[in-house]
């Protein structure tokens, strides 16, 4: 499936009946070189880069639902590289560079919009911390501009600068930060992988992982057994269940994170803005909806919906930051299931003690922007059995050894603190 | 040497009224926290009765009246309001002076229930929260103790450092209820 201006025009005039599928809806074969469990953003990008960078195409991606139906289709679409700690900095920096070339690479419009991200700060101490973060971003080769109060006002004149609890002292502007159309990212990677020969198998639930003598042999699925030399678990949100099929427990608790979108309104918010009150953040989608969210509900959950007190808290934060938002009607809310690790940083690693089994998980509430680099680095690991240099610190054993804990928030490496 | 003058937690903030509801400060006198030693709750009750003539309440209940109250104050905790605790209580309970640590206010009026309904995640209507009932709960984001002391009166306690927020939250809700009633 390819798009062109002429085709869009012709189809528009003839009832849009001539569009084909973007990717092959493949039937599972009995054997592959590699099987990727999970057809979300990370699974699809891993398959794509295995094919593109490493020439490996005898691969199946097994998805229990439909492509784009998980977290990649239900997130708040933010793309940024404003991390502070070594280990995260180089990874997200690499990811942002991949984002910047993604549409050309995939020949697919993922609506990547570098509209600028502004993290507001509310005290002198926070200003110091943000100045330091900005310097780290610049050292990494990314961009950061420390704005004072008047500097923020030029960008965001509509904020309430003088509310009592979180007065706005300034903000850290990350000009290359922005948003992308989330499900288009899944479709673009899916088409790219499928075109290179990867089988994308939907409605195929993995029910077991076959391991003999410490070596992975394949998987059992709702559509029959599939043999494979290498198997990757890339199922953020359900990592614990799938790892249990291999007899492993993970340093992960699944939590629900709510997000909200209003009815479409005229263009009013040009940036992505984050606020110090309960992690509140907001941007405006291309359709005009105000997309916003806050913190986790803070209890283990797979319900894909949250509770009212957190909704109330997020709305309160929005009203505190920009009272004008009160006139917009909330259209819908949803809850995504987050793989929460104790230190808030992810895992891209081999499963120690089981040859041929790999895991990519623990993306906390930041998985979307990581989709390109996660796939890039996971593909590198699966193809070469070596960690990619920008993901070298995402090791599973860091929790046992204490070496390389990446607690970006500085709250402590403990499950209920991120 | 500087002259320090004692002020109540809500000095200068109260009383305020709106829509027939009044919020005013309570002079709570001596406040004493009583935590009975393991298995000594009954003995504490007897000692309390003998020394100050007050009854130890059940969970979620308060006993006594203005000037001398005992409020259930949490798991294994009671708050004695008013009388000085007798030294004998120390044998049965951990006794801690809490005077001046709490902002204590009372909310009076027919619509007091409606005001608190905006702030507290509890059903405080009379059929489920009668005179003599008490609860530890939240008012907005604050931890509080709420007791119905009379049919249209609630006593509300929050940490002293939160006095201004307590007054602000309740006053805002009072005005909201009043505006709704007037409309």
């Amino acid at each position: 499936m390819r798009f062109s201006g002429l085709k869009v025009l012709a189809e528009g005039l003839t009832g849009n009946k001539g569009w084909g599928a973007h990717w092959r809806d493949a039937q599972p074969k009995p054997e592959y070189d590699m099987v990727i469990i999970g057809g979300g953003g990370h699974g699809l990008s891993t398959a794509y880069y295995l094919a593109k960078n490493h020439g490996m195409t005898n691969i199946a991606v097994l998805e229990k639902g439909y492509l784009g139906g998980g977290n990649v289709g239900r997130n708040t679409t933010i793309v940024r590289a404003n991390y502070f700690l070594q280990g995260n900095s180089e990874f997200y920096s690499h990811s942002l560079k991949l984002w910047e070339g993604l549409e050309e690479d995939l020949n697919y419009n993922v609506m990547h919009s570098q509209r600028g991200l502004i993290n507001l700060f509310h005290s002198d101490g926070q200003r110091d911390a943000f100045a330091r973060r900005g310097n780290m971003m610049i050292n990494q080769g990314d961009d950061a501009v420390l704005l004072d109060r008047e500097g923020v006002r030029k960008h965001l004149p509509y904020l309430d600068f003088d509310q009592v609890r979180f007065p706005i002292y300034g903000g850290l502007l990350h000009p290359r930060g922005g948003t992308a159309r989330h499900d288009a990212v899944a479709w673009g990677y899916a088409r790219g992988a499928s075109d290179r020969g990867v089988d994308l198998v939907q409605n195929c639930e993995v029910t077991g992982i076959d391991i003999e003598g410490g070596v992975v042999k394949g998987v059992q699925t709702s559509r029959g057994p599939i043999r494979a030399k290498k198997v990757a678990i890339i199922v953020a949100g359900r990592s614990g269940q799938v790892a249990a099929m291999a007899g492993r427990r993970l340093p992960i608790e699944s939590h629900v994170l709510q997000a909200f979108v209003t009815e479409g309104v005229k263009p009013v918010i040009d940036h992505v803005i984050s606020f110090g009150m309960g992690h509140f953040y907001i941007s405006q989608s291309d359709k005009g909806g105000l997309v916003f969210g806050g913190d986790l509900d803070f209890y283990a959950s797979y319900a894909q919906r949250g509770n009212l007190p957190m909704k109330e808290h997020v709305m309160e934060a929005g009203m505190t930051l920009m009272p004008m938002i009160g006139k917009a009607k909330v259209l819908r809310s949803w809850g995504g299931i987050m793989d929460m690790t104790p230190d808030g940083s992810p895992i891209i690693d081999k499963m120690e003690g089981i040859d041929g089994l790999y895991i990519d998980c623990g993306w906390n509430y930041g998985g979307f922007k990581a989709v390109p680099a996660s796939g890039w680095c996971m593909a590198h690991l699966m193809a070469t059995d070596q960690h990619h240099e920008v993901a070298a610190k995402y090791r599973l054993d860091r929790f046992r050894t204490g070496v390389g804990i990446m607690d970006e928030e500085g709250t402590g490496s403990q499950h209920n603190l991120h | 040497m500087a002259e320090l003058s004692a002020k109540t937690p809500c000095a200068g903030l109260l009383p305020v009224s709106a829509g027939g509801v009044t919020l005013s400060e309570v002079d709570a006198g001596v406040l004493t926290s009583l935590s009975p030693r393991r298995g000594r709750a009954e003995a504490l009750g007897k000692a309390l009765d003998a020394s100050v003539g007050a009854k130890l309440p059940e969970v979620n209940r308060a006993t006594g009246e203005a000037g001398s109250r005992v409020i259930w104050f949490g798991q294994g905790q009671y708050l004695l309001m008013g009388p000085d605790p007798a030294a004998a209580l120390g044998a049965e309970a951990a006794v801690t002076d809490q005077s001046d640590a709490w902002a204590v206010v009372r909310l009076d009026g027919v619509a007091a229930e409606d005001v608190l309904a905006r702030l507290v995640p509890l059903d405080l209507r009379a059929q489920s929260f009668a005179v003599g009932h008490t609860a530890r709960s939240m008012l907005g984001h604050m931890s509080v103790s709420i007791t119905r002391t009379d049919p249209d009166t609630f006593q509300i306690m929050a940490f002293r450092s939160m006095a201004k927020t307590l007054v602000h939250e309740i006053e805002t809700a009072m005005k909201g209820v009043a505006a709704r009633g007037a409309g």
């Binding site: 614990g240 608790e253 699944s254 283990a300 797979y302 319900a303 509770n307 929790f399 403990q414 | 931890s143």
Partner: protein
Amino acid sequence: MRITCPVCGERDRREFYYVGDAVALQRPDPDASDVVWDDYVHNRDNPAGVTRDLWYHEGGCGAWIVVTRNTITHEVLGTELASDVKEASA
């Protein structure tokens, strides 16, 4: 979600602070190996279904509570005082 505090009765979820999996009640021996401690501190069964976790009635009576709960439906199946659970297992 509403949780029944064994002391106060049924209360709104916002009065409670979530601590995490009730593994905290089976703390390993201080001299246990790093593998045992790593497993205790970090690794979780993380079930999709019935789970037991530890909550603190922070905005209420201050009790520590073991909540048996379904992570898929948010149904609360039972609550016990953590001290009772600990004593029963001692």
